[in-house]
């Protein structure tokens, strides 16, 4: 048993923390305020190899592990949750399923460009009538000659419009239920594929969240990902990994709010002493820090199990559930401890509170995480 990061992981954390502080933090408020996708940050991250952390070197990645990837999302989200989710959706939801389920040709074609950040990745499962009930897919894929024809709509797709590669789920046989769902690799520019309305959101406002439209979209047969009818399994397995990413994002938001609140309560004086000298403040902050550290251990443990090839589905669900709820609690209290200033955009905690909310919703709501955990408990 060893709770310490390896030397490599520590060196990585040193780099990503410095990068986040110097390159990402200064843009966070502006990106949020203007709902602007931080393209310049994406280019900088691409040059450093941040889009290919857990991708093997053979496919152009850095050959790192999932703990490093989790640290990256945590440290980026600590200063800007928008930047964190761009990396998370790209890595966990697009590159990972291609690495895990792709043919050698697909891996050779897509992974090097995803790892280098030349292409961004995205994932399309959610539909207007298929949210938590992801099995109710209405997007259809019909085999015609050497290609599939896709028709339908996906919504709330992270990185949409900026991504080049999309892992898309569609029904290939409606009579088979979840066993009739298949996964496809769809590229920007394929005929009949377009990006629709961009959502205006409460938080993570710099990240692009859009509708995807498939109108007789022609997808070559070689872009089927995994086996025909194997899509639902791929989606669920992908989301297990994705939850480590979102748990890391939530953890980062919570830590960022703690950092800001420690700083503020030491400086802010009322009744002749700083807020941090009031025992009520100390006790509440101690409780919050304990929860943040517990969330961190859950996130690290799930990442460690994934790296070790140990089943981690329930661990990832617990990590995401606890980290997301911790992020919401910490950020809400952080605003409270900042008082009136916390409610203004002069201070970053109100942004962090708005950003935290989504971590309880996307890549499986907190209720879905409880379903996953309970299913393992009562199997």
């Amino acid at each position: 048993m060893n709770f310490e990061l390896t030397k490599t992981q520590q060196l990585f954390r040193q780099m990503i923390r410095e990068f986040a502080e110097k390159e990402v933090k200064p843009l966070a408020a502006e990106v949020d305020e203007q709902e602007r996708f931080p393209m310049e940050t994406v280019a900088k991250m691409a040059r450093l190899g941040i889009f290919g952390i857990p991708i093997p070197k053979a496919y152009g990645g850095a050959g790192g592990d999932n703990i490093m990837y989790s640290i990256a999302v945590e440290e980026l989200s600590r200063v800007c949750a928008t930047t964190g989710v761009i990396v998370s959706a790209h890595t966990s939801l697009c590159a990972a399923p291609i690495l895990d389920h792709g043919t050698e040709e697909q891996k050779q074609k897509y992974l090097p460009k995803l790892a280098s950040g030349e292409w961004l990745g995205a994932f399309g499962l959610t539909e207007p009538n298929a949210g938590t009930d992801a099995s109710a897919q209405q997007t259809m894929a019909v085999e015609e000659g050497d290609h599939y024809v896709l028709n339908g709509n996906k919504i709330f797709i992270t990185n949409a419009g900026y991504a080049h590669v999309y892992v898309i789920f569609a029904m290939t046989d409606k009579s088979m239920g979840t066993k009739g769902i298949s996964a496809f690799i769809v590229e920007e520019g394929m005929p009949g594929f377009s990006v629709g309305k961009k959502e205006s959101k409460m938080g993570i406002r710099g990240s692009a969240t859009c509708e995807l439209i498939f109108e007789n979209c022609i997808v070559p047969k070689e872009n089927l990902l995994g086996k025909i009818g194997g899509g639902f399994g791929i989606a669920m397995k992908t989301l297990d990994g994705g939850r480590i990413g979102i748990a890391s994002q939530a953890l980062g938001i919570a830590q960022g709010a703690m950092d800001e609140t420690v700083k503020y309560t030491k400086e802010r004086k009322q009744f002749g002493k700083s807020l941090s000298q009031f025992q009520n403040m100390q006790f509440q902050m101690a409780d919050l820090q304990t929860k943040v550290e517990a969330a961190r251990l859950l996130v690290r443990s799930a990442s460690f199990k994934k790296d070790s090839g140990i089943p981690y589905s329930a661990d990832a669900a617990m990590a995401k559930l606890f980290a997301a709820e911790t992020a919401m609690e910490v950020t809400t209290k952080a605003v409270q401890f900042h008082g009136g200033y916390g409610y203004t955009r002069e201070y970053p905690v109100e942004r962090m509170m708005r950003d935290a909310k989504i971590t309880e919703i996307y890549e499986g709501t907190s209720e879905v995480q409880r379903m996953v955990i309970a299913a393992k408990l009562f199997k």
Binding site: T8, L11, F12, Q14, M15, G49, I53, A62, G63, G64
Partner: protein, 259 residues
């Protein structure tokens, strides 16, 4: 082209506190970092590598923990790393340090030696120039720009008045300003590989130096007293309109013979 960059691990002085009683630095819990001017020097070397395909060696003298900054340098793109470590080096002042480093440099091939201007823990700016003297090399300190032309180095040296442009024959030694070279971040792939690479450990027996020039024996410097710098008195504040302010500033500068 072979470049050797001399780097030093220093306490991050932005986070350091001073014991008010003893006047000494409290080093506990203070993170150790690569000295900023040295990191600027490494960036210069890596830029030359990007442009001309140079081979970059980093070398540091320090305790075994200094391994960390060599790994960082490897992750940034250095090709070879050497850690000079030996009990015989302990207690070295700038002169003994420069003798040890020069002794190691004599065992290496180089066209250019790069050092930082000064370290943030000692601020002496002596080790780089001393090494050049020991090695009989031309040297340029306070370097803010560097180019190569017809096998010669065109070096921009910062002075208090402005800049000097100097032409220097290779091999030479330069000491670099952090402000002139924004260091690159470590690359993720480089980080993954950094601990798989070799850091060569060199002791006193491995380098070309006389033993009495090393460590405490080779160090003529004695620290007489360490103390915390007193605070300056508060400045004067004049709340006047700009024209009157200009008059006040000029008269004060004249009083102090600054203008």
């Amino acid at each position: 082209m072979n470049i050797v960059v001399c780097i030093k691990q220093v306490p991050d002085t932005t986070e350091i506190k001073i014991n008010p009683v003893t006047g000494t630095l409290i080093r506990d819990g203070v993170p150790s970092i690569m000295n900023p001017d040295d990191k600027g020097g490494l960036e210069l070397a890596l830029e030359l590598k990007d442009k001309w395909g140079a081979h970059v060696t980093v070398i540091t003298m320090g305790p075994p923990q200094a391994d960390l900054i060599l790994r960082e340098a490897l992750a940034m793109g250095a090709d070879r790393a050497i850690l000079l470590t030996d009990r015989k080096f302990a207690g070295a002042d700038t002169l003994a340090t420069s003798h040890a480093l020069a002794g190691a440099l004599k065992c290496l091939d180089y066209d250019l030696i790069v050092a930082g201007r000064q370290a943030i823990d000692g601020d002496t700016a002596q080790v780089g120039p001393q090494m050049a003297e020991h090695l009989g090399l031309p040297q340029v300190s306070y370097v803010a720009g560097f180019e190569m032309k017809d096998g010669k180095y065109i070096v921009k040296k910062e002075t208090e008045e402005g800049y000097q442009m100097l032409e220097v024959e290779a091999p030479a030694l330069v000491t670099v300003l952090a402000s002139a070279y924004k260091p690159r971040y470590m690359n993720v792939s480089g980080i993954v590989d950094a601990y798989g690479k070799e850091v060569e450990i060199w002791g006193a027996d491995k380098i070309d130096v006389q033993e009495n020039q090393l460590g405490l024996k080779g160090s003529p410097t004695r620290v007489n007293k360490a103390f915390t710098k007193g605070l300056k008195t508060a400045g004067e504040v004049f709340e006047v309109d700009p024209e009157e302010a200009v008059g006040i500033i000029i008269s004060r500068l004249k009083e102090k013979f600054i203008i």
